[in-house]
C-alpha cells in the first residue's frame, strides 16, 4: 500500500538545538501510527513540521506521494492534513455549532458564498450524528464551548477534525486529562477513523496503555532522532527505547 504521509530525512534546528534529525518514516492510510518519546524529544516539532507551522531545514514531506514541503500551512490543511492540539483550540466565545462548523468549512473550501446564505456544507448534521455515536456526552448547539468539560472538548476536537475529511490526522495527546471511560471512547473514535474512513493517524500520546492498545506501528523519537520503530511489542522490549524513557544507568 502506498503511504499517505511520508517523511524523508526531515531536519530542523532551533539555534543550537536539533529538534528533528534525519527523521524518516511513513504512515499508511487506515493505520494508527504512534509517535512516542520522552519529553523534549521533538514530537511536537515534528507535528508542526508536518502541518506546516515550521518549514524543515532539509528533507521532504509527502502527502499522498505529493511533495508538500513548501506548501503553506493552511493549504496543507486544505489538502487533507487535519490536526488536534494538546490543549484543545476552540473559539472561546462562540457556540459549539460554530466551532464544529469550522471543521466542515475546511471540507467545503469554496463554500464562502454558500455559507453566507445559511448553507451548512454537505451533510454536516448527518455526519456529526454519525461521529457523535462514539462520544458519551450531550450538548446544546447554542451553548458556548466553555459549557463543555475539558475532556469533552478534547473529544470534540477530534470530531471537528474528522468533519474536515482529512487524509491524515495528527492527534496530539488525546488522552491527557481524560478519565478511563473517555479514553476508551477516544480510542473507539480513532479506530473508526482509521478503519472505516481510511484516515492515516499519527498519534502522540504519553499513556502507553493507549499507544500499545491502538497503534499498529510506532516511531520512537529521542533528541529528534528516530531510535526505534516497529509494532508495540517490538518497541516496548527495545532496549534503546527503554533507555530513552528511563535513562541510562550512570554506572552501566
Amino acid at each position: 500500500m502506498k503511504p499517505i504521509l511520508r517523511l524523508d530525512k526531515v531536519c530542523k534546528r532551533f539555534g543550537g538545538v536539533v529538534a528533528a534529525d534525519d527523521v524518516t518514516f511513513s504512515v499508511l492510510p487506515g493505520e494508527v501510527h504512534g509517535l512516542i518519546g520522552p519529553n523534549g524529544a521533538g514530537k511536537s516539532t515534528l507535528m508542526n513540521l508536518i502541518s506546516g507551522i515550521y518549514t524543515p531545514d532539509s528533507g521532504k514531506i509527502f502527502l499522498d506521494e505529493q511533495d508538500i514541503s513548501d506548501v503553506p500551512s493552511h493549504m496543507r490543511a486544505r489538502m487533507g492534513i487535519g490536526r488536534t492540539f494538546q490543549t484543545p483550540r476552540f473559539l472561546q466565545r462562540s457556540s459549539i455549532e460554530d466551532n464544529l462548523l469550522l471543521g466542515t468549512d475546511l471540507a467545503n473550501q469554496f463554500g464562502y458564498l454558500k455559507s453566507y446564505f445559511g448553507k451548512k456544507g454537505s451533510d454536516f448534521e448527518k455526519e456529526l450524528k454519525e461521529l457523535m455515536k462514539f462520544v458519551d456526552f450531550t450538548f446544546d448547539w447554542e451553548d458556548d464551548i466553555s459549557a463543555l468539560a475539558y475532556g469533552q472538548r478534547k473529544q470534540l476536537e477530534i470530531v471537528r477534525s474528522m468533519l474536515s475529511h482529512p487524509k491524515v490526522m495528527l492527534v496530539d495527546e488525546p488522552a491527557a486529562g481524560l478519565n478511563n471511560k473517555e479514553i476508551d471512547d477516544v480510542m473507539a473514535l480513532l479506530n473508526y477513523a482509521a478503519k472505516e474512513r481510511g484516515i492515516g493517524i499519527l498519534l502522540i500520546e504519553h499513556s502507553m496503555d493507549m499507544i500499545m492498545n491502538i497503534c499498529e506501528d510506532i516511531v520512537v523519537l529521542s533528541f529528534g532522532k528516530v531510535i526505534g520503530t516497529g509494532c508495540p511489542a517490538e518497541v516496548s522490549s527495545n532496549e534503546a527505547v527503554i533507555e530513552a524513557y528511563l535513562g541510562r544507568d550512570v554506572n552501566a
Partner: protein
C-alpha cells in the same frame, strides 16, 4: 526541610494534584519521577506559589507557606529552577546570575555578592568563560547550568530542579548530574528533583516518589525502587510487563 501534606492544585479546568504528601529531608536529594503529565511540574509550581493550591506546605523553621505569594516563598529560600530553564534571554550570563540574589539582597540593597558569584563560577567554570554572552546565545546545557547557578546565587534553603536533563545530550546530562550531587554533598542543600530520566534520578537521589495521575503511586528509598518493576510499568504501561 519541606513537608507537603494533602496538596491539591488546579491547572485551569483540570485537578492536576489530588492530595499529594511529599517530604523533603534536610541534606538529601528527593526525586519525583513519573511519566509526562503526571503532575510533577505542577507540584513544583504549587510549592513555589505560581498556581492556585490548597493543603499545607511547611518549611522547617520558617512555617507555613501555602498562603504566601511566590516572591515571599522565594525569600524564604525555596528556589525553583523551572522546566525549560527560563533564562533571561537579553541579559548576560553574569547579569542572569545577579538576578538570583534579589531574594536576600533586596531591590535597592547594596550588599556584595562576589562570594556567591565566585562559588558559582567554581562550580560551573563554563559560565565564567561566557559571563558576557547574552543568555539566549548559550547552548541548552549551558543554559541549564546558568539556571542552576542563578538559583545557587539565591542562597537556597531548598533547591527545586524541574527536568534539568530535558533536551540535553547524555554526556551533558551526566556532567550536570554530577554537579547536582556536588551541590548537595558539599553545601548540604536539600534538593527536590523532578526527572523523567528515572534511572538517573534514582541513581543520585536518596528517596523517591513516583507520581501518576496527580497523586503519589509509590514511594521508597531510591536504592529499593531502582530495581522495582513497578517503576518501569509506571512509564511504559502494563503492556511492557508482558515482555
Amino acid at each position: 526541610m519541606l513537608k507537603i501534606t494533602d496538596l491539591h492544585a488546579y491547572y485551569g479546568p483540570i485537578e492536576a494534584l489530588k492530595g499529594i504528601n511529599v517530604h523533603v529531608e534536610a541534606g538529601k536529594i528527593t526525586c519525583l519521577i513519573g511519566s509526562n503529565g503526571a503532575g510533577k511540574t505542577t507540584l513544583l509550581n504549587a510549592i513555589s506559589g505560581t498556581i492556585k493550591r490548597t493543603g499545607s506546605i511547611i518549611v522547617e523553621g520558617k512555617g507555613e507557606i501555602i498562603d504566601k505569594h511566590s516572591r515571599f516563598i522565594a525569600r524564604r529560600g525555596i528556589i525553583h529552577v523551572p522546566e525549560g530553564r527560563h533564562i533571561f534571554p537579553g541579559l548576560t550570563v553574569r547579569e542572569n546570575l545577579e538576578t538570583g540574589t534579589v531574594n536576600w539582597h533586596g531591590f535597592f540593597g547594596r550588599q556584595p555578592y562576589d562570594k556567591e558569584l565566585k562559588e558559582v563560577y567554581k562550580l560551573f567554570p563554563r559560565l565564567e568563560e561566557r559571563k558576557n554572552q547574552l543568555g539566549w546565545s548559550l547552548s541548552g546545557g549551558e543554559q541549564q547550568m546558568l539556571a542552576i547557578g542563578r538559583a545557587m546565587m539565591a542562597r537556597p534553603a531548598v533547591l527545586m530542579l524541574d527536568e534539568p536533563s530535558m533536551g540535553l545530550a547524555p554526556l551533558v546530562v551526566q556532567e550536570l548530574f554530577e554537579k547536582i550531587v556536588e551541590i548537595n554533598k558539599q553545601q548540604g542543600i536539600p534538593i527536590l528533583l523532578v526527572e523523567q530520566n528515572a534511572r538517573l534520578a534514582l541513581e543520585i537521589s536518596h528517596y523517591a516518589y513516583i507520581i501518576d495521575g496527580g497523586s503519589v503511586k509509590l514511594e521508597g528509598s531510591s536504592s529499593e525502587l531502582k530495581n522495582d518493576p513497578r517503576v518501569i510499568e509506571a512509564y511504559l504501561g502494563k503492556f511492557a510487563k508482558k515482555n
